[in-house]
């Protein structure tokens, strides 16, 4: 839902910058970070309804970040974004509590649909 707070986590800075711009244009409040550490710090300080998390990142990767989110009890729905297209990694992430996954490259409408679905789940509407 427009107005939802979205955290974008990907080590590709151009990608996060563009995606943030697109989501903001669609009414979301977006914060973009480029590492797992930065994402945890951001989540600890601010509330985000949905976190879009890249799996493959230097330092703390997507899976580790997800584990940390769950460990710290940070209340956000997580969407996994992967350039590998590896179903195994995505399934592992979903087992760890991720809501859904998308493979790169993805259309903005597809991402928005997933964010909406995740938000609704978080709000207990589905």
């Amino acid at each position: 839902m427009p107005g939802s707070r979205v955290l974008l986590v990907d080590d590709e800075t151009i990608f996060t910058k563009n995606m943030a711009k697109l989501l903001k244009f669609r009414g979301y409040e977006v914060t973009a970070v480029n590492s797992g550490d930065a994402a945890i710090r951001e989540l600890e300080q601010n509330h985000f309804d949905v976190t879009v998390l890249d799996l493959k990142m230097p330092g703390m990767d997507g899976i580790t970040t997800l584990k940390e989110i769950k460990k710290l009890g940070l209340f956000t729905e997580t969407l996994i974004l992967t350039g590998h297209g590896s179903i195994d990694s995505a399934l592992e992430a979903m087992k760890l509590g991720a809501y859904d996954y998308l493979t790169k490259p993805c259309e903005i409408d597809e991402l928005v649909a997933k964010i909406e679905a995740a938000w609704e789940k978080k709000e207990g509407k589905s």
């Binding site: 563009n18 330092g59 990767d61």
Partner: protein, 599 residues
């Protein structure tokens, strides 16, 4: 802990794709010869020992039997001759002692005695009575000897001194070989002698008629070595023999005679002789035969033993050659099978690497594609809400176009790298700039490494000479090592992979190290890391072929590979690559290339 496996490229194992067909053929030929030689040795040595032992035993037995036969012959004839002499000497002594000179000088009486003495065998030719002055008082016999005086004859003196005398063969008045037995009737002035001439024919028949094979003979010699009977071969009675005389001895003596010259001056072949002295007269009884004939049985047995051994050896050789040929064929088939499996293993490893690489490349390409897609969305969004002529739209348009161009260039670089890699599928020896080559691999793997938090550092020797090597195989080695180095950082947020090259002109090789700061290898795994299908990665993440293939390739290229690892700190692989690969590999690839050239 340091573990090192180093191999010389010139000594490939049978399972590896090794030298050219000719070298392989020569290797099997060497193996065949060794097998035949060793098996023949193992089979023939016992056979020869047994054959030699049996033959030796039989030869000794046969020789002893032959010598016994000789000794029996000598003993037998000596007894016959001694009996002959004793009998005649005794008879004459009996006559001389029991009859008076007056009686015996009566012609009728002497004739009667002569007849009685010759009643059984005509062994006495004549009989005479001689007075102490050597005058023939009476005589019975075929010669006219009554007027003869023997006072000066050698035998007369001997019998006068000794009382009985048996002479050697001599010619005497009758001018033919004969010998006498004379006995003395002692009576001072009345001494007289009874003398008998022995029938030479009868006596000689005792020894001359003996037949021993073709060359065997029995004869008598006096103390001076003069024949007392005629030998069958070479020589005649009363002639001097060439037999080497020895002083008087008791009993029998066996002698082997070499280089004897016969009466005709010819050298006789090696002979065996058995001899015995007679006490009176001092004659030597000799039984003699050519050595070869005497031991003909032994020689015959030896000949058959040799024939048997040769036939046995030939049979063994045939069987051994057939078995060896069969074994070599089995080994050759196994080698070919191992080679095929090795090639399949290499192929499987290559496919696995390509699989891993393609996952990395997909990620690498998907990222710029994702950016391009977002740029497109931005443009679409801008098109919906802004006028195309507005400066904001123009700015967005320019930014997006530039970014799309950048990302397309990025994709192009990735695909070009990938293409360069995929083109290197054929094994062939060519000049390789190892530094540039490593740089290419690093570039290809860089994004994959960076996304795992791993940074590459390279220290490449600028003086490195170009190598003659197989780029497709080297690519496989570095791809595997670098992939492993990146994977070793699983569970570590950051790390590095340091790749160095250094020329070693004294050893004519390049030292390459790939060192990571990953989790290291457990000491108990160090001995197994080059084994095929050994992996510590999670199921589905690793095939266990990477390092095994690296090992095989480096070995094939004539190099060496060693690993040093510390748990928790990292692992370093050190590779020695020769400036030029082994000659046999070059020939092998050239041969393979010739076979695969299109007609």
């Amino acid at each position: 802990m340091l573990f090192q496996k180093s191999v010389a490229g010139s000594a490939p194992d049978p399972g590896q794709a090794s030298g050219p067909a000719a070298e392989r053929k020569a290797r099997y030929a060497r193996l065949f010869r060794k097998f035949v030689l060793l098996t023949m040795l193992c089979s023939l040595v016992p056979l020869l020992l047994v054959g030699w032992g049996i033959n030796l035993h039989y030869t000794q037995f046969a020789k002893e039997r032959m010598l016994n036969f000789f000794q029996t012959q000598v003993e037998y004839h000596r007894k016959i001759i001694e009996v002959f002499f004793n009998e005649h000497a005794s008879k004459l002594q009996l006559v001389a002692q029991t009859h008076t000179r007056e009686f015996l000088t009566q012609q009728v009486n002497l004739q009667r005695v002569f007849e009685l003495l010759n009643r059984d065998v005509d062994s006495i030719t004549d009989l005479g009575v001689i007075d102490h002055q050597g005058r023939h008082l009476a005589y019975v016999g075929p010669y006219d000897l009554l007027s003869r005086n023997y006072a000066k004859e050698f035998w007369f003196k001997e019998v006068t001194e000794k009382g009985i005398y048996i002479s050697d063969m001599f010619m005497g008045f009758r001018k033919e070989p004969h010998f006498i037995i004379a006995v003395l009737h002692a009576g001072g002035e009345q001494n007289w002698i009874l003398r008998a001439t022995i029938n030479t024919e009868v006596f000689r028949s005792l020894v001359e008629n003996v037949r021993i094979g073709k060359t065997g003979q029995v004869y008598l010699l006096n103390a001076e070595g003069v024949f007392q009977t005629s030998p069958r071969v070479s020589g005649a009675i009363m002639e001097k023999s060439t037999y080497p005389m020895e002083p008087y001895h008791q009993g029998l003596q066996v002698r082997t005679l070499e280089g004897l010259i016969d009466a005709q001056g010819k050298e006789r072949p090696r002979q065996i002789a058995c001899q015995a002295w007679l006490p009176n007269p001092r004659w030597l009884l000799v039984v003699k035969q050519d050595y070869a004939e005497a031991f003909d049985d032994v020689n015959y047995a030896n000949l058959w033993t040799l024939v048997f051994l040769h036939v046995s050896a030939l049979s063994i050789l045939i069987v051994v050659v057939l078995i060896a040929r069969y074994m070599i064929n089995v080994i050759r088939h196994r080698d070919e099978e191992a080679e095929r499996l090795n090639e399949q293993l290499m192929q499987a490893g290559k496919l696995a690497s390509i699989g891993e690489l393609s996952a990395g490349v997909a990620h690498e390409i998907n990222n710029p594609l994702a950016i391009i897609l977002t740029e497109r969305q931005l443009l679409l969004d801008a098109g919906k809400h802004l006028s195309p002529s507005s400066p904001e739209f123009q700015e967005q348009f320019e930014d997006s176009m530039n970014q799309i161009d950048l990302q397309v260039q990025r994709c192009k670089r990735i695909t070009q790298n990938l293409l360069r890699f995929s083109r290197r599928t054929e094994s062939l020896i060519e000049t390789v700039d190892l530094n540039a080559f490593i740089q290419e691999v690093v570039e290809l793997m860089d994004r994959e490494a960076r996304s795992s938090g791993v940074k590459f550092f390279t220290e490449l020797d600028p003086e490195l000479p170009p190598l003659l090597s197989d780029p497709s195989q080297l690519q496989q080695v570095f791809l595997n090592l670098i992939t492993n180095a990146i994977d070793a950082h699983d569970g570590k947020p950051y790390g590095s992979v340091r790749i160095t090259t250094l020329a070693d002109p004294t050893r004519q090789q390049v030292q390459v190290t790939v060192a990571d700061t990953g989790s290291g290898i457990r000491p108990e795994h160090l001995n197994r890391i080059f084994d095929p299908f050994f992996t510590t990665k999670a199921v589905g993440k690793g095939t266990g072929l990477g390092l095994s293939i690296c090992y095989s390739i480096i070995k094939r290229l004539g190099g060496s590979i060693a690993v040093q690892s510390e748990r928790g700190k990292g692992t370093q692989f050190s590779i020695g690559l020769p400036f030029t690969p082994p000659q046999e590999l070059r020939e092998s690839l050239a041969e393979h290339s010739a076979h695969t050239q299109p007609a």
